[in-house]
Symmetry: C2
Subunit: 112 residues, 2 copies
DNA sequence: GCAGATTAGTTTGTACTACAAATTTATGTA
DNA sequence: TACATAAATTTGTAGTACAAACTAATCTGC
């Protein structure tokens, strides 16, 4: 019996990378939320450089996946949308980060 | 004058991430070649778990981008396809790796 | 009080692309 | 001669990121 599919050296970690997080736009969102835990919609628009529509659709996907929670309130008279990382989202990001570190880190020694 | 677009803290590095390398299948190919410098087609099929057709089309894209060189010879009577990282491909991978390290590394302290 | 501007988003349409399945081309073999 | 295997390439489909168009509510000048 050969090595089983999962105890790979690292690069194979990419075969089941979380593509929901891997997408650069969402990776930005997740990375911000991982640090600040929660942020409002317009803050993220400014920080990420995404358009409103683009952020809106990525937000929906992350919410559908259970990675973030979206809370819509009114701040005075205006709508105010807050994004917050869920526990599941936090775990998924950690896992993603570890997988990428294996791939990215593994090649380090060969460089320079 | 505000901070110019490029001297971001790190997460914004994702706004111009190299999507050609970012795609997991190609990232695997590039990561292998970055380490071993050259490898043959069937070796990569086995190592990456990609199908022949899938590897073939990713190979074409990396070649078109100038990131790899593809050499087709005959080994005895059978065709034998070798992939080799170009200097440009090497640089692009290093750049990609740095960008990702910024995003991935930046969040490290917040964790645990 | 109503016409136009601004704010805060959502929905829609298009263009791209990853992947698998079908196809190709050549060689070995019964 | 037919059939199987090897080594890929080409084709078709399904999924998706993004921008542009749209919606809905509030503010502002006249």
């Amino acid at each position: 019996m050969e090595t089983t599919k999962d105890d790979s050296t690292g690069i194979d970690a990419l075969n089941d990378i979380d593509r929901l997080i891997h997408e650069p736009a969402r990776l930005m969102i997740m990375a911000y939320l991982y640090v600040v835990d929660s942020a409002d919609f317009l803050f993220l628009v400014r920080q990420t450089g995404l358009t409103l529509g683009n952020l809106s659709s990525h937000m929906s996907k992350l919410e559908a996946a259970g990675y973030i929670e979206v809370e819509k309130k009114f701040k005075g008279k205006k709508p105010h949308t807050m994004l917050r990382l869920t526990g599941e989202g936090h775990d998924a990001f950690r896992k993603y980060r570890q997988s990428m570190k294996q791939v990215i880190g593994e090649t380090s020694e060969a460089a320079q």
